[in-house]
Symmetry: C2
Subunit: 256 residues, 2 copies
Amino acid sequence: MAESDAVSSLERLGLTGYEARVFIALQKLGSGTARDVHRVAEVPRSQVYSAAENLEERGLVEVQQSNPMRYRPVSIETARSILRERFEREQERAFDYVEGVREEHSDDGEEQEDIWTVRGQEHVEDRIVELIREAEESVIFGTPDPDLMTETIETALRDREKAGLYVGVVSVDEGVRNRFADDAVLTTVPPPPFSGDTSIGRVVRVDGKGVLLSVLGEEDVSGINRETAFWSVETNFASALIELMNSSFDSFDRKV
Amino acid sequence: MAESDAVSSLERLGLTGYEARVFIALQKLGSGTARDVHRVAEVPRSQVYSAAENLEERGLVEVQQSNPMRYRPVSIETARSILRERFEREQERAFDYVEGVREEHSDDGEEQEDIWTVRGQEHVEDRIVELIREAEESVIFGTPDPDLMTETIETALRDREKAGLYVGVVSVDEGVRNRFADDAVLTTVPPPPFSGDTSIGRVVRVDGKGVLLSVLGEEDVSGINRETAFWSVETNFASALIELMNSSFDSFDRKV
DNA sequence: GCACTGTTGTTATGAGACTACTAACAACAC
DNA sequence: GTGTTGTTAGTAGTCTCATAACAACAGTGC
């Protein structure tokens, strides 16, 4: 990994560029003067003093009031702890407030014809896992692509089955179906059109009233398919799509 | 807590000010259009679009491509996970690099007359815990102030005692000594001058070659004593201070 | 069907804050 | 006498904040 990547990461963890470079330089040196750090980090020497002082205030660096002044980093474990504690503190602070002001809309009973879009494989997966976890009666999950049956989803499905829900997995891929061979999870092969070449990525149906459908788009630069999911719960759209799915998944409907 | 505090926390977690305010507004609304968000968050309406798009790219908001466009936040749990995963990813990335370039200086055998300064109660405690955890033979910890015998330090001392090290606790405060009544930790009352009025906060001696001495300064604005620690390991200064301590802690010396 | 008004989504631009970077200098060490 | 140290000042660049403008569209009244 390049040092510039590490610097960028430390910047995203809350340090300025100079602070990050000084911190890394001190890790390399073990300890050193401003001049030592300036040479290794290529930070202007006059800026090393304030950057190191800021790091000291953060607890990431210790100072020896000698002549010249010497600096040393705290241990990596201590640095990690300090950054983690800062993160946890800000996270608690932010979300304590957010939880307090959050309006609960899920039980106002008003049906909204909402179809929501989620972009990016990672976020699609977050939404899928959330839908699975919130299911109360049944979950059906389908994908033709074994790579899209991730361990996180697999775990979430098992957890729901263990919680007493009806859980079904649909896939043309035998490997996907076999992952649940030891569980009380019903697996089956989907009928056409779901078994042909398709850009459908993943399909989820929960409780007979919620549905998610993802499609795979063009590869982005990292070589991973760009995935976009559309999902909806308790809407006419969801009902219609579920009807469509039901007529294709006869082997499941009798049980749900 | 004021909303501005929550906004500042979200900023420190990597969001811009507008993004944080849009996110909080959507939590309040449940879902809404740019106009709704603009009204609640007092963010200029034209800026709501790009802020919401950035949040969507981060996975924190979902978009409904309706007319007008509607936005909704992901659940608090999902938002926390996303921010945590980002933090963990940057932390791993930064420290993978740092661990790779870190010079191991602790075993180069070269004696340095280094005395290091740590400021701030929290950071002093980090250093104390680290010294305790790195001890190999013995640890002696002393403080007159029960508040400075924190649970973290208490736990660290017990862990070392269970690991077979000789552990001693020195305090004029009976409550501090009593916390170790059930452990194989030797406790004692310090002799003068350590038993009089003092600005000494905490004292640590590890392995007969490392020492830390903290002093309490003026209260800062939060009402907590400003604590500064000086510590040194394997130096003549440390040896001299340990000799001074040894002559005052006779009941310990015979065992270490 | 048309005119008018309000809304939407997009784009552009300047101000302010923060960080990066350079320069200068008094005091000091060697 | 020279080089180093620690501090301070100032400018440039970048990012975010904040305002303004506008084409296109939706809704409403006649």
